[in-house]
Amino acid sequence: MHLAQAPAGACALRLVDPIPSSPMGETHDVLVVGAGCAGMRAAIEAFDHGANVGVISKLHPTRSHSGAAEGGINAALGNTADDSPETHAFDTVKGSDYLGDQDAIEIFTREAPGDIYQLEHWGAVFSRNADGKLAQRPFGAAGSPRTVFAADITGHVLIHVLYEQLMKRLATDASRLTVYEEFFAWRLVVDGDRCVGVICWDLLRGGLKLLEGTATVLATGGAGRIYRTTTNAYACTGDGMSMALHAGLPLKDMEFMQFHPTTMYPTGILLTEGCRGEGAYLINKDGERFMARYAPNALELASRDVVSRSEQTEIDQGRGINGSVLLDMRHLGAERILDRLPGSRELSMTYAGVDPIYAPVPVRPGAHYHMGGVETDEWGRTELDGLYAAGETACVSVHGANRLGGNSLMETITFGRRSGQHAAEWSHSSGTSGASGAGSAALGDAERDLKVLLDRTTGERPWSIRDDLGGTMLESFGVFRREEQMSAAIDTVDSLRERYGQVVVEDKGTVFNNDLTQAIELGNAIDLAACMLQAGLARRESRGAHSRPHDHPTRDDENFLKHSITRWLDGRPELSYKEVRMTKWEPMERTY
C-alpha cells in the first residue's frame, strides 16, 4: 500500500491483523488529501520546496478520476495557430459568463504554457504536429486551437506522468514522502484558527488514524455522484468540499454544475469534446445539424452550457431519439477516428454498442463538473490558516458559471502547483502547531461517531437513499431549473437527511470495509446537494450552467454579478454573496 519506506503503522501490508485506532499518527509539513492531477501536482511541488509530504488517497493515485479526462488541456502555446494568454483569458472570462475572477484567470492563462512544457519535460506522451511540436486541437468556445492533447486519453497520460514523478521523488528521498493509499479522509482537525490534520479510515486494515499536517491541501475532486447519471467515477462524492463545509469553511458558487453535452445513453459515460473538436456533428432525429439555429458561428463548438441547452431543447421539443440526440463522426473517416479518437470509439462500442465509424452515437447532457467548491485565493489558500484547496474541489474561481473544456486539467496543474508551493513555504515559516490535544480530541469524537454508526443494526441501507438523492437532483437540478422543483427538492433532501440519520452499515468488519466508507460518502453528498439547491433557488437569473428559462431567462448583472457563498450553520446551508473580481473585461452579451 505504502510507497515509502515505512513509518510505523504504514508499512507494506501483509494482511492479517487489523490495526486498531491509534492516537499516535504521523506528522508531515504538508498533507495532501486526494491524489489526482491536482493532488499529485501539489505534492510534487511541496516536496520540491523541501517539505515532508504525506499524500492521502482513498484510491491508488493512478485510479483517480483525473485519469478519465479525455480531450485535452488548454494553454496558449500557439503551435497550431496564433494565440496568446490574453485571448485564452478573454475566452475563459466570456465562457464563465463573467462570473470568473479575472485576476485569477489572468494568472492561470499566463502560467499555463510553462506548466505544459514542464509536463512534456517530465515525459508526458502528448500528440505532436508534423514539425515535432505539441499538437493543439480546437475546443469549445476557444478563439484558437489551444487544447494540447494525447489522442483522447489526455488525463490518463497526465496522471501517469505525475505518478512517475512522485515515484522519482520517492526514489530520491523516501524519508520526505509517504503515500497513504486507500486511506479514506473523513474529517479535518481544526485547532482554533488553523487546520492541523486529517482523520482517516484505513480501508485495507481498518482503524481510524490521525495524520497531522502543518498545512493541508484538499484535492479530492468533484461531486458528480450526487446525480444518478454522471460522467464522474464512483469516487467523486465531494468528500473534500464536505470536510471543509463541516469545518466551518465557505463553499463558493455551488449552484453551478456543468452538464457536458456528449454523455452516452444510458450510462452517462463521457465522449470527449475532442470529437467535436475534430469535426463531429450533432444531429437531431431529422438529421439536422441543429446547432446552426442556436450558435450560428461556433456551431458544435459553442461553450458547453450553450450546447447542452440546445440539445435539451431539441429533446424536450420532440426532435430527439430516446431522450438523446446523435453525435455523428462518420464523415471524419476511419483513419482520423482511429488516430485521434480511438478511446472514444472503444467506449462507444463497449457501452453504447455503436461503432462511430459507421453509425452516430446517442448522447445527451450529463452532470460532469462542479464549477463551485471550497473558496480559495490564487494560491489555493482558504480562510482557515494551513488549509488549501486545488482542482475541482476548489473554487478559485477561474470557471465562474461555466467552465471551458480543457481548462479543468490545466487548473489542476497550475493551481495544484501554486497550492503545493505556498503550503510548503507556509509550513516552514509558521512553525508546527504543537501538541495541542486537538488531534486526539477530534479522533475521540470520530471514534464515538463511528461506533454509533457501526453499532446500529436496524434501519435503511445507504443505496436506496443514494438512488433517491440521485434521481431528485437529476430531475430538479439539471440543465433547466424550475423554482417549484428546486423548492420541492430542498424538502426531499431534508427528508433524505432524516432517513440517513438511521442508516445501517451492513459490513461490521475492518478489512476493506467500503460499505462503511460509501455510507459516509452519502452523508457528504446529501449536505452538498442541499447547498447546491439553496444557492440555485436564490439565484434568480440565468447565467452559465444555471438556467431558469421559465421565470428568469436572462442574466441579471445588476443583482447577481456576484459569487454565492454557502456556510453550514446549525445543520443547514446559510447563503451570502461576494463580489466578482474584475480587471479589464466588462460584462457583454454572450453569443457564439
Binding site: L3, L13, H121, V125, F126, G155, V157, T267, M349
Partner: protein, 362 residues
C-alpha cells in the same frame, strides 16, 4: 434480465472461503461491475471489490471471470445471461487476496517501482519550450503508454506463478515505455537491469498477458521489444539472448537449426560438458545428426535472402517488432457493435481454475 453469478468470498482475518451463488435482476446494458453493485446493494453489503471510473481507464476492477482476468466494467453480461451461463467470479491470480475480490497490490507496485518508472532526461538542461520530437519517433511507445496498471496481465502470468520475483508483464511494459522514449537517456542502464535474473529473459512467451490485457498494451510485445533492444545494444550475456541469437546465426548460415551447437552456444562450453551424458543417450537413439559435414538446407538461399532483407530495412531493435502495432486498432474494423469486439457469452477461455474450486465443486 436475470443474471446468475458465483462469487468466491474470502475473509483474510479468519481464512474462511466459500463459493456463493447470487441471482439478480439487472438492466440489459449491465456490466459485470453493475451486477456486483446490485449484489452489494441489495443482497450483501459485505461483498468487497474495488471500483471507480466504470469506463475502463482507472484500472481498479481487475478480477477473474471463469478463471481468466477481466476488467469488470468492460465485461457486458447480456450474452452470458442469455446463454444461461453462471460465471464464477474470483480475485485476480498471482497476488495475495485481502478480501473477496480485493487483492493486495503491493507486490505489483513494488515491481513497477523496480523498473525506475520515470523519465531520466537525456539532456541536463531542459529546453525553454517543449522537446521537439518527430511524431513517428514516439510511435514505438504508443501502446505501452496506454497501460492502466490494472494487473490483469500479472494475474495470468505463467512465469510469475513459478517465480514470484519475475518482474512481470506490466512492469516490463512500463520499462519499454521509457526505453523506447527518445527523450530518455538511460536506455542502456535500463536494459542492463531488466536483463538480469527475473527480467525479460524469464518470460515464457505464453502470451496470456497479451490475451488478457483489456487495453491493447500487448505486454509480451513490449518484452520482445526490450529483448531486441538489449541485443542491439550488445547486452546479450543472458542465456535467453544467446539462445535467440544462435537461432538467427544458424538459420542464416545453413538454413536450419543446428541443435547440437545450440546447447554450447546458449549455455557455454563448460556448462555443456555436464550435458554430455544426456547427449550420448540421445545419440544412441539416433537423435543427434553427425556434425560433419554440416548439413545445409536445400533452400538455404531463401533464408539468407530473408536475413539480408531484414538487415536492409534497418529494423534493428524494437523497430523490428511489428506484431500488434497500432494500439486499439486491433479491434475489429467492422460495424459489429460491442459483442463482436469482446467475444460472445460463454466464450471465455479458462486457462486455469483455482484447484480449491474444483474440490469444492466435487
Amino acid at each position: 434480465m436475470k443474471v446468475g453469478l458465483k462469487i468466491w468470498r474470502y475473509d483474510s482475518t479468519s481464512g474462511d472461503r466459500a463459493l456463493r451463488e447470487y441471482e439478480i435482476d439487472a438492466p440489459e446494458e449491465a456490466t459485470l461491475l453493475d451486477c456486483l453493485d446490485i449484489v452489494k446493494d441489495r443482497y450483501d453489503g459485505t461483498l468487497a471489490y474495488r471500483k471507480s471510473c466504470r469506463m475502463m481507464i482507472c484500472g481498479s476492477c481487475g478480477m477473474r471471470m471463469d478463471g481468466g482476468a477481466v476488467l469488470a466494467c468492460k465485461t457486458r453480461m447480456y450474452d452470458i445471461a442469455q446463454a444461461g451461463h453462471v460465471p464464477v467470479i474470483s480475485a485476480m491470480g498471482n497476488l495475495p487476496i485481502v478480501k473477496d475480490l480485493v487483492v493486495d497490490m503491493d507486490p505489483f507496485w513494488g515491481k513497477i517501482r523496480a523498473v525506475q518508472p520515470y523519465l531520466q532526461p537525456r539532456y541536463d538542461q531542459a529546453t525553454e519550450k517543449e522537446n521537439v520530437v518527430p511524431a513517428e519517433r514516439m510511435e514505438p511507445i504508443h501502446k505501452e503508454s496506454l497501460c492502466i496498471l490494472c494487473g490483469c496481465c500479472v494475474s495470468e502470468c505463467n512465469s510469475m506463478e513459478s517465480d514470484p520475483d519475475f518482474l512481470g508483464p506490466a512492469a516490463l511494459a512500463k520499462g519499454m515505455r521509457f526505453v523506447g522514449d527518445p527523450r530518455d537517456g538511460a536506455a542502456v542502464e535500463r536494459l542492463e537491469s531488466y536483463s538480469e535474473e527475473h527480467g525479460i529473459w524469464d518470460c515464457t512467451r505464453c502470451y496470456f498477458c497479451q490475451e488478457r490485457c483489456p487495453k491493447g498494451v500487448d505486454p509480451r510485445d513490449a518484452i520482445a521489444k526490450l529483448g531486441a533492444e538489449a541485443m542491439r545494444n550488445g547486452i546479450d550475456r543472458d542465456m535467453g539472448a544467446r539462445h535467440a541469437k544462435w537461432f538467427v546465426t544458424s538459420a542464416k548460415t545453413t538454413g536450419w537449426l543446428r541443435e547440437t551447437e545450440l546447447v554450447p552456444k546458449t549455455q557455454g562450453v563448460v556448462a555443456s560438458i555436464k550435458e554430455i551424458k544426456f547427449a550420448m543417450g540421445l545419440a544412441r537413439h539416433g537423435k543427434v545428426p553427425p556434425p560433419f559435414p554440416p548439413h545445409v538446407a536445400a533452400d538455404v538461399n531463401e533464408s539468407r535472402a530473408l536475413y539480408d532483407r531484414v538487415k536492409e530495412q534497418g529494423r534493428d531493435g524494437a523497430q523490428g517488432i511489428v506484431q500488434g502495432e497500432k494500439a486499439l486498432r486491433h479491434l475489429s474494423h467492422e460495424a459489429e457493435g460491442a459483442d463482436g469486439a469482446y467475444g460472445k457469452g460463454g466464450d471465455y477461455p479458462t486457462p486455469y481454475l483455482p484447484q480449491l474450486e474444483e474440490k469444492e465443486k466435487a
